[in-house]
Symmetry: C2
Subunit: 707 residues, 2 copies
């Protein structure tokens, strides 16, 4: 694997453009960190004032820097950064970190300046990180181009963040509790290097065991998914994405001007990429330390070892909510525990040693639980009581966990001596948490990664029997007629071109045409009014179902059907009004198969319970298109619609294969035809096994302004 950002971490020579000797300035901090955090190559401060800083000769211009220099850190203000980048380009520097803010995050003017940076980079073949960022750190290279005071110690977490403050806050916490990182990449506005580049780089980095990413917007959501999918079979990826709610979207917009995708698209993207989404900053770090320190469990059976029944019970609830459960300890294990634990210990699970066991008893009991074949992971919960300081428990717990291949996590709560205990545990690769629920989350993430890692990479094969040309022709005809929503007949024909099963149908402009058409498609038939501006036909009564003969068709065509616009074609119909005549599909469960195009992640396919209740029940799930068969089956399985299809209470099971086929074909249509903005098959009527599924109402919206 090639690291596209290799040069940012291993440059032969770094120039600091705008270096300052004033310790209150960021530009001082950058030079200081580079010089004092171990970077082995030459450092060239650049400042028109010249002179010397921190024992280093200062060059008045980057052009005058003598030796090889491969990375520039630009700490000038925004208005001078473009010119500086250009000078770096002229000096053949191929990589730059641009710290300054005052770009895209400010709106239109700033975006223009950002475009200038990109143009300069293109011109000179450079890559740059930022602007509006904190810089990068590699603790192994080592190199630190940031102005953040403390450099974290070495460790397995690769951290990527759009927000500099999230980097800063995380590093501040990390140094207090002794958590190590491999690399930290602060992306800022990601005008050039983006999250996908960072994932590719961390995938190649041998020291990174887990990637934790804080992201706001994704300029190229598809590439993010691709890079993430390449990463996650080897290294877990935990993602916190801001801007997933209305308020959050607003906050992100004012922050970096990134376009935050709809939450369901992001969830679908994580699913495809096998990334592990989290919702808060503490979940991001809680998950990262678990994944960095410990292997995944081989099963969901957890032993809880504690001196405090209450917190252990809260932890057990939290484990259950994570999909884990308490292990059933064998008699043998309980007997062994009885030998080492204090008298009165409850050797069931949780193993409650009550009050103040001796620290060694923690170690011995932990050893026994790690040996027990019925235990897949151990959560240690210690609440400081009068006698034992936390750090004295942390050390033996850490030692007992050394080399164990089962996950061991530890919750030590309270106020005093916690950080020393945390540092001790982390030194033994045991993740420390302040509360049992957070420890349970750490273990839950390990368990989820165990699952998603083994899920086969979906590589959807294109579906067969697709007439793309026919579909395109139908859409062009609609566009030529100025229609943005295809009429039901055109919709049905596009669906048919993509191999979906639709009942015979046609459009009629007069009552007699309708009657003739009904004879041709076969009874019973359904009639639907086709009038400009009528979206939900059932709302206005423009639907008549189950008509059994020509008389019924004539009557329905000629009369008002319920309240609202008449299905009136007796006088040739109002302007543009026609009636859609379709043979009734067999009875079956009504599901919805839909698709839309997300601005960041592209086409998204939806499945759920259909018919008039779809908005009410909200039983829907989403995936990115195209869609493999296993993925489509997964969609069906996780919905109530899918459970109904399996057959409840004496009803025959539905044709799940036909639904899977329909989902794959709609996904293929979206992938093939960028002209299509939305597809709705609502309902798709699913017959019993072997009977197929019928798309009786196909709504296709073309790109552009929606009607």
């Amino acid at each position: 694997m090639i690291d596209p950002l290799h040069i940012f971490f291993h440059p032969r020579g770094v120039a600091v453009i705008g270096a300052s000797s004033n310790p209150t300035k960021l530009s001082y901090g950058v030079l200081h960190n580079l010089a004092s955090h171990g970077y082995p190559g030459p450092i060239y401060p650049v400042n028109p004032k010249g002179g010397e800083m921190m024992g280093l000769k200062v060059y008045p211009a980057v052009a005058e820097v003598p030796g090889p220099v491969e990375l520039a850190v630009i700490v000038l203000s925004a208005d001078r950064a473009v010119r500086a980048l250009e000078e770096c380009g002229q000096r053949s520097i191929r990589a730059a970190v641009i710290i300054a803010s005052g770009f895209g995050e400010l709106g239109a003017g700033g975006r223009e300046r950002e475009a200038q940076l990109r143009e300069v980079a293109r011109q000179y073949g450079m890559r740059f990180i930022g602007p509006n960022c904190v810089g990068v750190i590699d603790t192994y290279a080592p190199i630190d181009t940031t102005f953040v005071r403390t450099m974290p110690k070495q460790g397995g977490i690769g951290f990527v963040s759009h927000s500099g403050a999230v980097c800063g806050g995380t590093m501040d916490w990390a140094s207090a509790v002794g958590v190590g990182f491999s690399r930290i990449i602060s992306l800022g506005n990601q005008a050039d290097v983006d999250v996908a580049d960072a994932l590719e780089s961390l995938a190649a980095d041998p020291h990174t065991r887990v990637v934790a990413a804080y992201i706001e917007g994704l300029p190229d959501g598809r590439r993010f998914v691709e890079e993430a999918a390449r990463l996650t079979p080897h290294k877990p990826l935990v993602v916190l994405k801001a801007g997933r709610t209305i308020s959050g979207m607003r906050a992100v917009a004012s922050h970096t001007g990134a376009l935050a995708g709809a939450d369901r698209a992001f969830q679908a993207a994580c699913r495809k990429a096998r990334a592990l989404p989290v919702e808060t900053l503490e979940e991001l770090v809680d998950a990262a330390i678990a994944l960095a320190y410990r292997e995944v469990p081989s099963g969901p059976r957890v032993a809880v070892l504690t001196n405090a029944g209450g917190p252990a019970a809260v932890g057990a609830d939290a484990l259950d909510r994570q999909g884990l459960r308490l292990a059933d300890l064998s008699e043998e294990t309980q007997a062994r525990l009885g030998e080492v634990c204090p008298p009165g210990t409850m050797t069931g699970n949780p193993v409650d040693m009550l009050g103040g066991p001796h620290p060694d008893q923690y170690a011995e009991a932990l050893g026994i639980l790690l040996d027990a074949p019925e235990v897949d992971a151990v959560m240690v919960v210690f609440v400081p009581q009068a006698i034992t300081p936390p750090a004295e428990v942390a050390e033996p717990v850490g030692q007992a966990a050394d080399g164990a291949c089962k996950p061991v996590l530890c919750c030590i709560s309270g106020g005093g001596g916690i950080r020393a205990a945390a540092r001790t545990l982390h030194a033994h690769s045991v993740p420390h948490y302040l509360t049992p629920a957070r420890a349970a989350l750490g273990l839950g993430v390990l368990w989820r990664y165990a699952w998603v890692r083994t899920r086969p990479v979906p590589e959807p094969e294109p579906v067969a029997r697709v007439d793309r040309e026919r579909a395109l022709a139908l859409m062009r005809a609609a566009q030529a007629a100025g229609e943005q929503v295809l009429d039901p007949q055109a919709g049905a024909e596009v669906a048919q071109a993509y191999g979906l099963q639709v009942p015979p149908s046609g459009l009629a402009a007069t009552v007699e045409e309708a009657a003739a058409l009904a004879e041709r498609v076969g009874y019973p038939v359904a009639l639907k009014l086709v009038a400009p501006g009528v979206v939900h036909k059932a709302d206005v009564g423009g639907v008549a179902l189950g008509l059994e003969d020509a008389g019924a068709v004539r009557t329905a065509s000629a009369q008002a059907v319920g309240p609202g616009p008449a299905l009136s074609l007796s006088k040739g119909g109002a302007e543009g009004e026609r009636v859609f005549v379709q043979r009734m599909a067999p009875k079956g469960l009504e599901v919805i198969v839909g698709a839309q195009r997300d601005a960041q992640f592209g086409p998204l396919v939806m499945f759920g319970l259909g018919g008039v209740t779809v908005e009410v029940l909200r039983d829907v799930t989403f995936r990115l298109a195209p869609l493999g068969e296993a993925e489509a089956r997964g969609m069906v399985a996780e919905t109530a619609a899918g459970r109904l299809l399996v057959g409840v209470r004496g009803q025959p099971p539905g044709d799940v294969d036909a639904v899977v086929e329909a989902l794959r074909r709609v996904a293929q249509l979206m992938a093939d035809l960028p002209e299509v903005a939305e597809v709705d098959l609502n309902p798709l009527i699913v017959g019993s096994v072997g009977e197929g599924a019928w798309a009786v109402d196909v709504r296709i919206v073309l790109s552009g302004k929606h009607q």
Copy 2:
């Protein structure tokens, strides 16, 4: 209001039975805390050895204690506690705290010992807290009967806990970050004084502003609900209940032997009591400090003031998930902010002052936001960066928040100097949080309390037109016949006795009886096989619907209907087989109205989408019976069934009033008839407005072993 636990906090004289001079013993800690944490009355150590401890004369027996003594703290081991309690009774001491473990939490033997404690207490008219507890604290009295090292400072939080470790851990944290408490009550096994007593006590305590409770089991769930409902109009109640999942229930069972109620019953209880349930220990304290320090907001509009866009965006997402939203700042507010904030500040919301604003700028901007009429609450998010230490921001933020009637909460994250900042904020009654999501939870709980507090106390009036005697007679007849599940006809008649609308029906034992019955009830009819052991009739094909005449009834009665047991009555039916003949109800939406009896909280009513899909869609909600009209309406409103009843897509709205009536009548039935274990109306068929709702399948299970 009378405080039932007054004497525990204000005793005239305390005896410490089993006081020890050995500093490694709990019994030393208890005496030490009583003596050194400010208790103003006389203290009498009791120990057969006699002598002197901490300058206090030690009495060899409690009988020999001279002066008035109203409280005993018993720190002897379990086997000696019963005798000691008896001696206290003989000495006319009316209150005791029993610290020792070794009782009900150990199983049957321990429960017996616990019963002995209760018997002694009854005999001498005593109340006692414990056993297996840490003791009680009142920071204002003051008195501290615990052995926990630090006594928290004075404050508004009343803390009740079944778990001593949860008390200890919370106090440890609280003293580190300067959070104050009014009272701490560690209940242990609550063999006598229970959570309900503690709520009553804290309701009466003038220093308690908010009650935070950690509970495991409730011996009397109904009384808990009553006391909580009395408390919550005046003081908020936050509850963490362990044992709400399968694993958690198991952990609680092994911990204190308490019976953990089903989660849905607990949720319904919280709703009735207007309590605020939380899921983790950090949520318990996060919610408690918000409620202790700040008034509720008068609306959901939040301003976020920050120096860090990323964490603010995460906070905005979290606010949204709490039902809050970002305020739209007026141009005037933004202009005022522009005058005091650093250049480059984004004065939209979040107000992002970027990098390192001067601490005074926090104060000034906060003042402006608190003045703004479009802002209901302010969340300050500060991420320590290179320049400003957290405590320097905390002080001006605290000052600006002093006296503000709008909530102000503050998130300061990172690792260094956080606790000093937290103490500073708490001294100004500004709750401090380590992450934006936790601050959002604090504000969300304030907002939820604003809502629930104004909800009228449900005081359900009994429903009219109920024939309880008739229902009782039907049940007694079933019991006499050895039936635990009423047959459909008896079920229908009980329902009718409770004023529910049921179609005319009867039971037939032969084909001819069935035909005659059908003539009488009127066509079309439904037939249902009634055979011992057949629970879900549709599963086995024992149902025939929409029979239009006597011929059809005869055929259906005589033939097998579908697979499974035959609806065969041609030869008089198999042993006990009959057929239930019922006029078909009009068409309508199928909902379920159900009820069951929870071991802790009593009768529980359920509503949701019905028919065969009830298990699949799981669209159900629960309330405790009896049920007020507003509560019943609330149940309908929060389900998909309710949204469907409102009428979707051209369908006429359903008769919600009839559903509300049915819910109230089923609730009344459960409240009136303890003999009934379960009721299921599935489906209740709901007609259009004014048409009523029909209970077509009434299943009533009597108490005892269920079939």
